[in-house]
């Protein structure tokens, strides 16, 4: 691997500014790397080398003229295949959207383009972002760059794997119940789920609208803060967008690191997250070591309780499937997407296009969502789940009266092998530590902590803050990264 393709955004921004590196050199190093490792990792659904190089050269021309669009002009970013980018495919790794071309840019893509970022291609995912392993992609199976027999996590598994395999500098994904944080943990990269409403969902193919958030995958917390600053901010096209401007979070970290201590910070340990059945000893040990690390940085720990934690998964699977069944009603074979050649009339066009176009997990969730919303069951399932959602939110509000952030594992175990979780419910339960934040709207970040000794696979820790308090988890994560024994996490792909 060339030195270039293991770089961080921070290093590249400096090198580009000083003139020691061009975006063309940067991007061609990534294209070479993709050629070398992509046949094994299979993280990408589409990559157009000519377009990448044209964007990079345009960036170099702007810089040469002294007019870069931002410090990030020329930085490559890969997109999950559910984020629209004008003129490019957006298949959500589904048969039903094969051949679809986005007619417009997602809000976040507009932000990246106006900063001069180079769009590196489309990353694999679980179909319509439903899954925890990328095995539900209708297109291909992505491998974990740390162990090719293991899954990269999901649903944003292609985004996570492409960063971990050094096929790109950063990527965007989406997180509905853990789909950024869990694959970030499995692949040894940093993944942020922002506060709900802080990043516009305009141009993100909807899965569960009250839970979906777009966020960055990067190599470091500083990079995460930088990319988040670029994509955050109010958008009138998303009615749930918060009327808050973005903020230079990376700049804040640059000043903070002059004395990267956490004295006075109170970190809560929710006891329910440490009582989960099936928690790996290796993961537990890494979390314990991380706690010790935070203590040495001056942080103080308090025990807190999130009493409704055990109900989060049940609540999530009612709300997420209900919203998905409504959102995915738009795929009907009429205006765009797959239309069954076996249909004879309008109803069979709907039924056959949908039945043939969606994969098994998507069908399962549409069916569940339709069932919990159906007449006679609405109050018992959906309305009750919405009330439990209130209790789950209250848990976080109460916990944050005692502490500034929370620290938890991201997943109960490291990345599993392909086919290991064939039972859908077993697969759902691998998101036990991540879904509650989507229901409550809190922000959370997954930061690699160490490699589990037994498997050699990365383990992540999750830092959680109240809504709009990303700065706290960036600072804590950055201080932790500077202090942790393992400095960098580079997958051993030769």
């Amino acid at each position: 691997m060339s030195m270039i393709s293991g770089m961080t955004i921070r290093e590249a921004v400096e090198a580009l500014a000083s003139g020691s590196l061009s975006s063309s050199a940067l991007c061609s190093a990534y294209l070479e790397r993709i050629q070398a490792v992509e046949p094994r990792v299979k993280a990408l659904l589409a990559i157009n080398p000519e377009s990448v190089m044209a964007q990079a050269q345009a960036s170099d021309v702007r810089r040469a003229a002294g007019q870069p669009l931002s410090p990030f002009d020329g930085i490559p970013v890969t997109l999950k295949d559910n984020i629209c980018s004008s003129g490019e495919q957006c298949s959500c790794a589904s048969k039903i959207l094969q051949g679809f071309t986005s007619p417009y840019d997602a809000f976040v893509v507009g932000k990246l383009k106006s900063a001069g970022c180079v769009l590196m291609g489309r990353a694999n995912m679980d179909e319509f972002a439903m899954g925890s392993s990328c095995e539900n992609s209708a297109c291909q199976k992505t491998a974990n760059p740390w162990n090719l027999k293991c899954v990269p996590g999901g649903s944003s598994g292609g985004s996570a794997a492409s960063v971990a395999a050094c096929e790109t500098m950063a990527a965007l994904g989406s997180d509905t119940g853990g789909s950024i944080r869990q694959p970030a943990a499995f692949c040894g990269v940093v993944g942020l789920k922002p506060t709900y409403g802080r990043v516009s969902r305009n141009g993100l193919v909807a899965f569960a609208s009250s839970l979906d958030q777009i966020g960055p995958f990067t190599r470091t917390v500083w990079d995460s803060a930088a990319l988040f600053s670029l994509i955050a901010g109010f958008d009138e096209k998303d009615s749930t967008s918060l009327p808050q401007d973005s903020f230079d979070f990376a700049g804040d970290l640059t000043s903070f690191e002059k004395n990267p201590r956490l004295d006075g910070m109170k970190i809560g340990l929710p006891k329910e997250y440490f009582e989960v059945e099936g928690m790996d000893d290796g993961v537990k040990q890494v979390v314990m070591d991380s706690i010790a690390q935070f203590k040495s940085l001056g942080a103080e720990f308090v025990d807190v309780s999130l009493p409704h934690t055990k109900y989060a998964m049940a609540c999530y699977y009612i709300i997420a499937t209900a919203e998905a069944s409504a959102n995915l009603a738009r795929f009907d074979g009429i205006r765009y997407g797959y239309r069954s050649p076996n249909a004879t009339d309008i109803n069979s066009t709907y039924e056959k296009s949908r039945g043939e176009g969606f994969g098994p997990e998507v069908l399962r969730r549409i069916m569940l969502g339709t069932y919990v919303l159906s007449s006679g069951y609405y109050d018992a399932y959906y309305l009750r789940a919405q009330k439990v959602r209130t209790l789950l939110r209250q848990d976080f509000t109460d916990a944050f009266k005692q502490c500034d952030i929370l620290l938890t594992p991201v997943t109960p175990a490291v990345a599993f092998e392909f086919g290991a979780k064939a039972d859908p419910l077993q697969m759902y339960l691998s998101d036990v530590f991540t879904t509650a934040l989507n229901l409550s709207g809190n922000c959370g970040i997954s930061v690699p902590a160490a490699l589990e000794p037994a498997s050699g696979l990365p383990v992540g820790i999750q830092l959680i803050a109240p809504p709009m308090e990303e700065q706290r988890i960036f600072r804590a994560g950055h201080a932790f990264e500077l202090a942790r024994p393992q400095k960098t996490f580079l997958a051993p792909l030769s």
């Binding site: 109900y311 789940a385 009330k387």
Partner: protein
Amino acid sequence: MPAETDSKIDVAQVAELARLSLPDSMISRLQTEMEQIVNYVEMLNELDVTGIEPTAHAVARVNVMRDDVSAKPCSRESMLANAPATIEEELVKVPQVLPGEGVA
């Protein structure tokens, strides 16, 4: 339809509501899987939710308005380019809706 079974989920009826044409093998597989998942989510019945307001969204914003300004965010061509079938690239072509009439 399946009046005889003990099962509480009429999978075929749910599939009809969801406008999904599914093979029988899928229906029977979903019967087992959906029952298993529904049994799991029914743990919410342990909780007393009397008097608790439902949360529909993580952000409590209501009546978000913007100015009513006409705009053309996407060209007609780019929208029609994704249609499975068109009539002279001007209209989305759909299968016959009303029975009995001849197809033009």
